[in-house]
Amino acid sequence: MIIDSKKIQRVIDRLPPDKKQLIMILQDIQQEFHYLPKESVRLVADYLGMPQSAVYSAATFYKSFSLIPRGENIIKVCKGTACHIKGADLIIDQLDSGLGIKPGETTKDLKYTVEVVNCVGACAMAPVMIVNDKYFGEVRCNRAIKIAKKG
């Protein structure tokens, strides 16, 4: 997947060239493209007048950034304490067998990405799955695949 660097630059330009905006800019890029394209590290570094290594460092430190392309549909499985003791692992297992991907992986057709997230703060409804930002509570493992595919 090749992304036009002009497109990335347009996203970067939304925020002022201030070093303290680094994380916010990376978040905007991530939101737009679902990941940080390789080119974006250089573009952000130039824009903020800082070394590429510093941008790369932030991009790898924070969990919400991905340097590899992610799927069209992001399936998040919450692994907060409440979800853990109510069987979040079962959901992960079911997604693995149904979609053939483990947490952090993306299907070859770039359709689905499965991610494990630390507590999304919906503990009362544990275990929780989030498909493209829509919450599903009290997920029984035999419904996991259905939820993942239908959203």
Binding site: G87, V117, A126, Y135
Partner: protein, 617 residues
């Protein structure tokens, strides 16, 4: 419209109240995280759609209000009709027309939607009388679930920004700090440091500028109180911060919100925009000399950024690695300038303290832990949800009286408080008072307020492994004891779960824990071994069963258990369909069998079986 004087604010408040009085019936629809997952947004839409078409006396679209979390998540989606306080639970979209027709039009109660106590079978019409609510006292959460978070007018009608008016009218900054100190408010983020003292230190610092920060990086798994405050009552956070800014002499503030809470960001931003528009943020607030503005800073999904010095680095756009605190961040914080950092819930308490006075606040709770504390109840407890109780209440009262006891009437095993830095308390500690010091003395901690209840089907060795795994992933890697120590501790814990550890390993784990605690740079490492230490302190027998007998009493650790189908099996085929390893065979309506060699012990069959026909051996 700029509100540039206190007189104008009061006038505006009177006007809003008069307008709101015209709306006799209010239908509150909970859009908290729990109810939203149950589709409460669809319910809200349905109410509005029907009421747009239908003309009913005294009821209009304006009567329908969306609110933040009302608290009783286990019974969500919730619809509450005020002023009567009618409490409808487990509402679905199809019920909306019926509620409008029967309750709103004819004043009838729909009994099937009311809450029925599963033990006493008593039916409750009014939410305030339900045991879950009756024992609570709400200060920080006073508006959450009662007002529309998007409407600044709702907040003002409920007395919002009157504490700000009070200090601007006749309190010196020192007097504000004095009040906060005298109230005995301690930081609600977990450490429990005196808020007043923190403010006083910052105000005394000679350096300028000074910053006011709000910690909304609620990273503890199992906690969602701050989320509900930021989503459900964002203005109270702003008002608390503005009061703090006045007290310490700051012009610039930031709210750090974790990126997993997108709705909190949206609601806070709306609140900030509104506050600016009406002159409650920005230059010359309410016509006074106070100039203060707030910006939101979004986190990037790193647990360690809840630590003060890491959070400040992250706000500055750097990676969130903590620093050693030879100099406290209240003196050298954001951009190395004096900084007050308080938790969301702490700020939410401030306006009430100012308004009702320090003595009133100090009279609630215990002597050393004044006020109330918000908790999120989760795990294997019947009434999961968001609560606020006076300090000094016992764990038993929270779990049994408010929480309704354990799911499926199983046996209580432990309650986990304080997130990854806290610990697990067993049944014989249920009568402990919940306050900062008592919990710490007993090997756990208050933490930010997550309370996860565990039943007899939870393995405490696995719980310890879970937290260690969490911390290994979240350690920033800056200091060796935390980075390497927790990694090794987790590895050893894993060995116990696999039944391959010996007595020496347990000793080694305890030794290693002490080293990590005494030599780590920040709170993450210093408290990292707590989940292990508290579980081995109270549940040593479980560790020993894993080590000596290669057994997992909780029936959780995969390597030590076997699943077997008993004679109760009616051949419904649910387990067969869900088995990813193809280990289950059997025909419809006939007893199924698990092939123990093929079985990978994922437990899916056990989870889907509705008739307890699968045993864990």
């Amino acid at each position: 419209m700029k509100i540039d004087s206190i007189r104008k604010l009061n006038k505006w408040r009177r006007e809003i109240r008069t307008q709101q009085k015209a709306i006799k019936t209010r239908v509150l629809i909970c859009l908290g995280p729990g109810c939203l997952a149950g589709g409460s947004d669809l319910i809200l839409k349905e109410f509005r759609t029907i009421l747009k078409k239908k003309k009913i006396k005294n009821i209009s679209v304006a009567s329908i209000k969306k609110t933040g979390c009302h608290g009783f998540c286990a019974r969500g989606p919730l619809v509450i009709i005020e002023p009567q306080g009618i409490f409808y639970s487990k509402v679905k979209k199809i019920h909306v027309a019926e509620i409008i027709e029967k309750t709103l039009q004819r004043g009838e109660i729909i009994e099937k939607l009311l809450y029925k106590d599963p033990d006493t079978e008593k039916i409750y019409k009014e939410w305030r009388k339900i045991p879950f609510y009756a024992r609570q006292q709400k200060i920080a959460l006073r508006n959450v679930g009662q007002i529309d978070p998007d409407e600044i007018t709702d907040y003002i009608a409920n007395g919002g920004y009157s504490a700000l008016a009070k200090i601007l009218k006749g309190m010196k900054p020192e007097e504000v700090i004095e009040q906060v100190s005298a109230s005995g408010l301690r930081g609600r983020g977990g450490a429990g440091f005196s808020t007043g003292r923190k403010w006083a230190t910052c105000a005394r610092a000679e350096d300028e500028p000074r910053y006011v920060l709000c910690n909304g990086d609620e990273g503890d798994p199992g906690a969602f109180m701050d989320r509900c405050i930021m989503e459900g009552d964002p203005h109270t956070v702003l008002e608390g911060m503005i009061i703090c800014a006045y007290a310490v002499g700051s012009k610039e503030g930031y709210i750090y919100v974790r990126e997993e809470y997108p709705l909190a960001v949206v609601n806070l931003q709306k609140a900030i925009d509104d506050a600016r528009r009406f002159g409650l943020l920005g230059d010359n607030i309410l016509g006074s000399d106070l100039c203060f503005d707030i910006e939101i800073s979004k986190g990037g999904g790193a647990f360690v950024c809840g630590e003060s010095s890491a959070l400040m680095k992250s706000v500055a756009g750097e990676i969130g690695e903590p620093r050693a605190k030879y100099v406290r961040s209240v003196l050298k914080g954001l951009h190395d300038k004096p900084t007050v950092l308080n938790n969301v819930e702490s700020y939410a308490n401030i306006p009430v303290i100012i308004e009702k006075g320090a003595d009133w606040f100090a009279s609630i709770g215990t002597k050393k832990s004044a006020g109330t504390k918000a908790f999120s109840l989760a795990g294997k407890i019947r009434n999961t949800g968001l609560i606020e109780v006076p300090m000094g209440i016992t764990l038993r009262e929270i779990i049994y009286d408010i929480g309704g006891g354990i799911n499926d009437n199983r046996e209580f095993k432990a309650v986990q408080t304080g997130g990854p830095s806290g610990g697990c308390l067993p049944a014989d500690k249920l009568d402990l008072d919940v306050d900062f010091d008592t919990l710490t003395e007993n090997g756990s901690m208050m933490g930010s307020g997550g309370m996860v209840v565990m039943d007899d089907r939870t393995c405490m060795v696995d719980v310890s492994r879970y937290f260690l795994n969490f911390l290994v992933e979240e350690s920033c890697g800056k200091c060796v004891p935390c980075r390497e120590g927790l990694y090794q501790l987790h590895k050893l814990n894993e060995k116990v779960c696999k039944g391959k550890a010996g007595d020496d390993d347990l000793k080694l784990m305890e030794n290693l824990s002490r080293t990590i605690m005494s030599s780590s740079l920040c709170g993450l490492g210093q408290s990292g071994p707590n989940p292990f230490l508290s579980t081995i302190m109270y549940f040593r027998d479980e560790y020993e069963a894993h080590v000596n007998e290669q057994k997992c009493p909780g029936g959780v650790c995969k390597d030590l258990i076997t699943y077997r189908i008993n004679d109760d099996c009616d051949g419904c085929m649910a387990c067969l369909k869900v088995c990813a390893a193809d280990a289950i065979t059997g025909k419809k309506n006939e007893k199924h069998v698990i092939d123990e060699i093929k079985c990978d012990r994922c437990g899916a069959c056990y989870a889907v079986c509705n008739i307890n026909a699968i045993d864990i051996i």
